[in-house]
Symmetry: C2
Subunit: 331 residues, 2 copies
């Protein structure tokens, strides 16, 4: 069987199973492990706090195209993807390792621009680039690992329970719309253009908000990197629950409304890379989060008892609809 | 300027300088940082122990060829490279993150074989594969991050001082010779063939030995991944010292002696991927290390006052020679 037939998530499940089967319960590292493969980050009990670690690889022409992503923005983007994984655990990111692979013909100035973007974002969040490595490769490959920590509580994908409301921070769909603006697919008015391009090129990881979620008692969260429906699917699968979303409640980014041929809702439901946080909790907990953060927090639906993980999407007439795409997946 | 003109180490220096210039001394992560970019691993002060982190990317047809490296051995090899970096700090490796990138046409069975090799080695050392990710790419790319820790002392590249003796664990050149056997370049007798192939395909990280080095008071070490001369060069540059090696002292692997056209010494001086530890210390410290470890420990020369970092290689007649290659470097 080919990897393309099994799919990204099938392969992850298979490998996670191999690792779990080989687990040596005598090993101190195994004993201290809090989360196995399959959440936003790995997590283990450190000396006096929970340690978090996440690693992501971005490959040229698969995850990014240099045609419409300037190097400095690319550095910011890939660092956001990793800091956002720590945010989705409610953690504080502290150190980053950057492994760069590139053809020898790459301009040094481009690599320093890439680093400038990474440094700008890491400085903003008190994160230090502490290591990494440089190797040759036929295309640009950027792997970033971020290490962080939390006190004694974390946000997990597996903690959603029936009766929880589903909420998101901020607005959705802007990054996907921004990519369409940059690639010339759509041409909204110039203010919206700029807003959407920035949403794609300079997304902000919700680090402070993730910490507030933990403080306020939220237990289940994920960051929206693959798309709302896809990432909600990860929560449902891990938690063995279903979900129902009401489309009139979904906070479509205001800049998407004007000048778009394509359905703004599709971008909000399926567009990835907004790096907003998606979480579930009782309504009063969500209310206390809303009071504590400075961004919008919107309830968009409910966690249900559907153990199959089914996500039902209901439109303004109360009819069930099928979102056209369930988000980014490899292979 | 192109990356190929600046070179791997020039680029690392440039980027490390950018990161250092941007350092925010108010950041707790910066305050706790023990080692900046440029040693075998990053290191920072954790809650009650020193935390170590290292990340390496291996790209198909650049770092490995599937023609003569079976998948399971490849998994073992790439994991060794990372565990060895922790060993070179005197640390205990604890968690690994594995990021795999591959074409969709890759056989799933090959990926599970790769994982089997990684799992076999990690289990041996009590290390847990705790996370990672899977993405598409035009060739196989394996990035591994390993997190570890030590009590309150580490081995650094920058601690060699004039008067130190230079020592290595084990024998040298076997991995490079094994690669030549596998690629059909050389054909020694069958026992030697098997030994050398295994040295290349299944190298052992010197984890226990690294910890003994720290315990016995060694301060400067590196693992031999690029080649003896190249890695000694990293120590000399970081420590602002020179070195003198006497070739009759260099412990060439016994299996290389017979049936080789090429100079065995060249393989021992310049062949990489043996993952032995190279360290410097006063002679009595090296003696106490030798008594505590179960592998050979051989003194091969002296650290000198040459601030330029010059390495002098002296042959059996006392004449200075130039090794033909100074080891692996990218671009």
């Amino acid at each position: 069987m080919k990897v393309s037939e099994l799919g990204e998530f099938g392969l992850i499940d298979l490998l996670a199973g191999m690792v779990a089967d080989a687990a040596d319960t005598e090993s101190p590292a195994q004993r201290d492990l809090i989360l196995r493969i399959g959440d936003d980050t790995a997590a283990w009990q450190g000396d006096s706090s929970i340690q978090l670690a996440t690693s992501d690889t971005m490959v040229q022409n698969i995850h990014f195209k240099l045609d419409f992503t300037p190097w400095e923005d690319l550095g910011w983007q890939v660092m956001t993807a990793n800091l956002s994984d720590i945010a989705a655990m409610g953690g504080i990111p502290r150190y980053a390792l950057v492994s760069l692979s590139m053809p020898g013909s790459t301009e040094v100035d481009n690599i320093t621009s890439l680093y400038r973007g990474m440094i700008e974002l890491t400085r903003k969040h008190g994160v230090v680039i502490a290591g990494g490595n440089i190797t040759a490769a036929p295309v640009i490959i950027i792997n970033i690992t971020v290490l962080g920590s939390t006190g004694n509580k974390i946000l997990k994908r597996s903690e959603a329970v029936p009766g929880d409301k589903i909420a998101v921070t901020g607005y959705l769909g802007a990054a996907a719309a921004g990519l369409k603006v940059l690639s010339g697919d759509i041409k909204p008015d110039s203010t919206a253009q700029e807003t959407l391009k920035q949403a794609f090129l300079r997304p902000h990881p919700r680090i402070k908000e993730g910490q507030i979620l933990v403080e306020k008692g939220v237990k289940a969260a994920i960051d929206i990197s693959d798309g709302l429906i896809a990432d909600l699917g990860h929560i449902c699968k891990s938690s063995k629950v279903g979900a129902q979303i009401e489309t009139p409640l979904v906070p479509v980014h205001p800049a998407i409304i004007s000048g778009f041929d394509r359905e703004p809702l599709v971008l909000a439901l399926s567009g990835g890379e907004d790096y907003e946080l998606l979480f579930t909790a009782p309504e009063n907990v969500i209310k206390s989060v809303r009071e504590a953060v400075s961004c919008p927090v919107t309830i968009i639906g409910d966690i249900t008892r559907e153990k199959s993980g089914k996500i039902t999407v209901i439109d303004e007439n109360g009819d069930e609809i099928s979102p056209v795409s369930s988000g980014w997946t490899h292979f």
